[in-house]
Symmetry: C2
Subunit: 199 residues, 2 copies
């Protein structure tokens, strides 16, 4: 075997290795992302719900999608909602709590006496509730499912918001967006600890 | 040269190629993503703004970050806000309009007479404004910069929201989240066209 043929063989082997490496790295790099995207897609829900409002600007059956997202919680469900008077949403929280999921609810004391407020019902069912008792509003409208999926937008949990108003919700599993909310919920949960407020 | 040494040489060349391929693909794959992330990072802003409120649950100078994001518009700025009474935010919209950017504002007629409402001021400056005149609320709180960056959350554009309330804003360039808002803004813009409403 002469020297030229040896160089050629080594070159082909290097080239084949290079191609295999690129393909392998591409496969490693892409595959988990694709699976993740397929499993828990980011989405936007608009309201009013078309089923109840008939408004073409609304979303089709988006209340069901919201209820499903909340009911998918396996370990924890942290809810931070300014106005909470929607019975179906309260039912979902109570069922989720009864399945053994740790459900925590943060809301504003000034909304506690709004029409149909569900917060006392949640408390009677054994769900932990804490209140912002300052003169300002705890105006968030978000929920975190299992510390890794966020529902956030303009929508208060009321019948008027779901059936009448123009509203939005973003549902995302993007860590860069979810984790600041996980941290903020814990911070507010401790801020509104009744033991601390009494001191 | 014997057969064993040739197999060994080809093997080493293939291995070297494989490693180079993986490194090359990793570099190609990572580099644009990193640049993109650096350029337009997704982020979450919490309020009240610590500078004015002193509340440790708030965000540091997040009003400035919001103003900067809006002022970065080069072609278009679409704003869909329930309550708009914050003077600095109105100033930014007026300046942006005067730079030749197409600014459009959607809001709710029931908020037009709220204290300090900036909407008439925007109109006088020549900005296009349309109103939801239905009995329900146009309750969104979002803005779209150049059809590709979204600011969305619980925050109305008022001094109380920025300086006092617990509020959030998500800022994202993720197409899957931004594009539904681009479409929804256009749909509502047409829905609230005064010519159509008069018919």
């Amino acid at each position: 075997m002469n020297s030229d043929s040896r160089i050629w063989q080594v070159g082909v082997a290097f080239g084949a290795g290079l191609c295999s490496g690129v393909i392998l790295a591409w496969y490693w790099g892409r595959s988990p992302t694709k699976q993740k995207t397929k499993k828990e897609e980011d989405k936007v829900l608009f309201f009013p719900d078309v089923h109840t409002s008939g408004d073409p600007a609304g979303g089709k059956d988006n209340l069901s999608k919201l209820l499903q997202a909340l009911a998918s919680a396996k370990d924890s469900l942290d809810v931070c909602i300014f106005t909470f008077s929607h019975r179906d949403l309260a039912d979902t929280l109570i069922n989720t709590h009864q399945r053994g999921v740790v459900v925590r609810v943060l809301t504003d004391n000034e909304q506690m006496h709004s029409y149909g407020c569900q917060v006392e019902r949640l408390r009677r069912a054994g769900i932990q509730v804490r209140l912002d008792t300052t003169s300002y509003y705890m105006h968030h409208k978000f929920a975190i499912i299992d510390h890794r999926r966020l529902v956030n937008g303009s929508l208060n949990w009321t019948a008027q918001a779901i059936q009448g108003n123009q509203e939005n919700l973003i549902v995302t599993s993007k860590d860069k967006l979810v984790q600041p909310f996980v941290k903020q919920f814990q911070l507010l949960w401790e801020k509104y600890d009744p033991d601390k407020l009494l001191r």
